[in-house]
């Protein structure tokens, strides 16, 4: 950093929400032509910092300078105009509009006062190409695109605004490995073009690959700033959580679990997404689903949970054929299944409703006597869950939307644990949550398995699969390509089978680089 004149500087920025301080005299310097990584647990103040830069929230005190001149932004539009563009963790795309409409949305090209659709199309195509996503049709509606494609549109949209400072907040959390590689190329090119990039991610290997400089936030302050690569992963994590950090994954049991499969699938097929899948999960076992994103893992979980229509093949519960036609049937006591969904904000929680209400939803039939909810029993169960999962909340009667991401995810999990499920399906449950909460979730998963639950766990994070699972099934194009057991679950094996490459030697390096 020394010598270079910072393009953008924040000094002594503080922000409080009610009594909670989100930022406390935080400083940050951003230099043109470099990638600056921001690290920290959820709730460390990263989001507030970015929102301040992007004009979404106004700081209580402190000053910001751009090119040496003091600036303040009244709205996201003002920040955009100054050249600061942010790709938010929560997608900012308008679902009913087309990809092209979305890309030019903040400043559409105009002719005679109307939007020039030809020019718009051209800008959109250029931006998509620049983001390495020319496979997306500019006319497609955003709501019809899968999450990973939307994220690419989001990046294209940011690029179309010709930013000087580009902020990426967990921008790769929904991306497939192939897309991440493309995005990295784009980001490195932008750095060479002289842009300043701020990169926020929970994935350490991404930061190691990309960043020039890192700043760690904790409790609303910047606690350390250092050139990338000068600290080990362990040192960085210790800086983030502020305490000794060891054994993120709980130990796996040595003894083989019981022999009876609780959940079994035979020749499961659905539309063109699932192809002849057979698998079994025993009580006490954690079985991972691996592979590139979008190879049918989500559909497989939804199929078990009774969401898909026109499913072919057989699902067996305790060795007996079962027909599960709805989530209600799946969570029935005879089946005892629970699904922790991918998107906690839409499929997991009713955000404006209270923590208490959200916790009870899945278990209302168990808590009700003759249709009336037994408040005392509800309270007991909720207290148990809040204690078991160490959910940090200011109270049970505040909207669940006010909780941090990690705590929201805990509420989603707790909500299903209230039913004491025997079969637990998890769909990428640690996406975009902090290290501390992740660790708690890993431990909880093992605890549940030890107590006799059968767990099917899909994750896009290979480390998690390696650390948590007794077995991993790797999916490719809707079918199980490979089963890895015990010590065979390695990053190399996972990547190779995810890309459907046979053999473990020379081909592997190719795979790991992609």
């Amino acid at each position: 950093m020394d010598g270079a004149v910072p393009l953008f500087r924040m000094e002594g920025i503080s922000k409080r929400y009610g009594g909670v301080r989100a930022l406390e005299k935080a400083d940050l310097e951003v230099t043109a032509g470099s990638i600056h990584a921001i690290l920290g647990e959820n709730g460390a103040g990263k989001s507030t910092l970015i929102k301040t830069m992007a004009g979404v929230v106004a700081p209580d005190e402190g000053r910001m300078t751009l090119d040496g001149r003091e600036v303040s932004f009244a709205s996201p539009a003002a920040a955009n105009q100054a050249g600061i563009v942010c790709i938010f963790q929560e997608l900012s795309l308008v679902p009913e509009l087309s990809v092209a409409d979305n890309i030019v949305i903040s400043d559409p090209p105009k002719r005679f006062g109307m939007i020039d659709r030809k020019a718009q199309r051209q800008i959109a195509e250029e931006a998509l190409a620049r983001a390495g996503a020319s496979d997306i049709h500019p006319r497609a509606l955003v709501k019809d695109l899968p999450l990973s494609r939307r994220q690419m549109v989001e990046i294209a949209k940011a690029l179309a605004r010709k930013p000087r400072i580009l902020i990426l907040d967990e921008a790769t959390s929904a991306l497939t490995a192939a897309d991440v590689a493309k995005v990295f190329e784009v980001l490195k090119r932008l750095r060479a073009e002289g842009l300043a990039l701020l990169y926020i991610s929970h994935r350490m290997n991404e930061i190691a690959e990309l960043a020039d400089h890192c700043t760690v936030f904790r409790n609303g302050r910047n606690v350390a700033s250092y050139p990338a690569g000068s600290k080990s992963d362990n040192e960085v994590v210790e800086l983030m959580i502020g305490r000794e950090y060891s054994h993120i994954f709980p130990p796996k049991p040595v003894a083989a679990p019981a022999a009876t499969p609780v959940l079994e699938a035979r020749n499961l097929s659905w539309a063109d997404r699932l192809d002849n899948i057979s698998l079994s999960v025993k009580a006490g076992e954690v079985v991972g689903l691996g592979g590139l994103d979008g190879q049918g893992q989500r559909e497989l979980l939804l199929a078990f949970f009774g969401v898909l229509r026109g499913l072919r093949g057989e699902v067996l519960i305790d060795g007996k054929p079962a027909s599960i036609s709805s989530p209600r049937a799946a969570s029935d006591e005879r089946v005892g299944m629970a699904l922790i969904p991918e998107d906690r904000k839409t499929e997991g929680l009713m955000l404006p409703m209270t923590v208490r209400e959200n916790l009870s939803f899945a278990a209302l039939d168990r808590l009700a006597k003759g249709g009336i909810i037994d408040r005392a029993a509800e309270q007991r169960l909720i207290d148990d869950m809040v204690g078991l999962l160490a959910i940090k909340t200011a109270g049970l009667d505040i909207p669940v939307g006010a909780l941090s991401g990690g705590n929201q995810q805990k509420v989603v999990i707790a909500k299903w644990l209230m039913r004491q499920p025997r079969i637990i399906l998890l769909n990428d449950p640690t996406r975009g949550i902090d290290v501390g909460t992740k660790q708690e979730i890993y431990q909880l998963m093992r605890k549940l398995a030890d107590a006799g639950a059968a767990i099917l766990f899909y994750s896009t994070d290979y480390d998690e699969l390696i650390g948590c699972c007794d077995r991993v099934l790797v999916l490719y194009d809707g079918s199980v390509k490979r089963e890895l057991v015990g010590a065979d679950i390695t990053e190399h094996a996972l990547i190779a089978s995810a890309l459907n490459i046979h053999g473990d030697g020379a081909d592997m390096k190719q795979g790991a680089g992609a």
Partner: protein, 326 residues
């Protein structure tokens, strides 16, 4: 996918409404004693465009994920106003027309200001303003009466070259002058964006407030065009409460029939126009089949239910149940 397939998907709602309308209209004309003649078309057009204007007005607001329960009352108010002002010499008549349209625009702007800057729920705000507009209309015309420049009225409700109903031409012009520029402007897009996801729109720096405000204001303007035409057809002004409410409710039905989503962000005024025409034809159908008038509302309701259900057929093809809720 090819471009045209996306285009087709975008216009699906409007095309479905057009299809429903054409089928109904063919059934209507083939069973009409006079058959498919210019006069039959003219009568049908004159009845249809009134609802079409109101449905267009409703569309603008529904796109922003709001609803305007005052459109029918703006129609009545401007009808009463026109029965006073649109009279006399050509100059006076012109000024009268301008005054009536301006009144509609102001009514719409008031709705917009209350909903957007006052942050009231659209449904409540427009029930209240609707009652106010009706009240003013009633003060203007306590009893049915008044008159209108009959030359202008006859010209706009007659036929062009003895074939084309002038009211349809007027509808087309309004579409070209109001709807097309709006839908292609930055504000039109802001209205769609706000209706689809207001937070995403805000985060993207979209001028949400102006977009919504213009949508409400133009809705008032379009309702007043409807009010003008009502005066041209009837030569009088009348603050008929039941008729105002009927227009409001029918406009919502027409909008849904035309493929406009009540959740906002989706649909077009073109679809709503066909929805309105189809809705009107339902009423006419019962007439040509000589139904007992007592049965008409019941049958009209049933046919409307069937027509609206057509748009939901796609749900049978959904194989992932989560898509039901999108």
């Amino acid at each position: 996918m090819k471009d045209w397939r996306y285009l087709l998907a975008e216009q699906r709602g409007a095309l479905l409404a057009l299809g429903i309308f054409i089928v109904m209209f063919i059934i209507y004309t083939t069973n009409h004693p006079a058959g498919f003649t210019a006069n039959v078309v003219q009568t049908a057009a004159n009845k249809g465009v009134l609802l079409a204007f109101v449905a267009m007005a409703q569309t603008l607001v529904v796109i922003t994920a709001g609803i305007d329960l005052s459109v029918g009352m703006i129609l009545l108010l401007t009808n009463c106003l026109a029965s006073w002002l649109v009279v006399g010499t050509p100059l006076e008549t012109t000024l009268g027309v301008i005054a009536v349209l301006a009144a509609g625009l102001v009514c719409g702007a008031i709705n917009g200001a209350i909903v957007i800057y006052g942050r009231l729920q659209p449904i409540v705000a427009t029930i209240a303003t609707g009652a106010v507009y009706y009240g003013i209309g009633l003060l203007l015309r306590p009893f049915p009466g008044g008159s209108v420049n009959e030359d202008l009225a006859d010209a706009l409700t007659g036929k062009l070259f003895d074939v084309i109903p002038t009211s349809l031409v007027a509808l087309l012009i309004v579409v070209l002058v109001v709807w097309v520029p709006f839908s292609r402007s930055e504000f039109g897009r802001a209205a769609y964006a706000a209706g689809s996801s207001e937070t995403a729109a805000y985060m993207s720096g979209v001028p949400i407030r102006r977009g919504k405000f213009i949508a409400y204001a133009l809705a008032g303007l379009l309702a007043s065009v409807g009010g003008l035409f009502l005066t041209f057809f009837t030569y009088t002004g009348e603050a008929a409460y039941a008729s105002g409410n009927a227009y409001t409710l029918f406009s919502i039905a027409a909008v849904v029939l035309g493929g406009v989503s009540l959740f906002g962000g989706k649909g077009s005024a073109i679809g709503a126009i066909f929805g309105a025409l189809a809705f009107r034809t339902i009423g006419d159908l019962l007439f040509v089949f000589d139904f007992d008038p007592l049965w008409q509302p019941l049958f009209q309701g049933v046919i409307l239910l069937i027509a609206v259900s057509l748009g939901a057929f796609a749900l049978f093809r959904v194989r992932n149940r989560l898509e039901w809720f999108l």
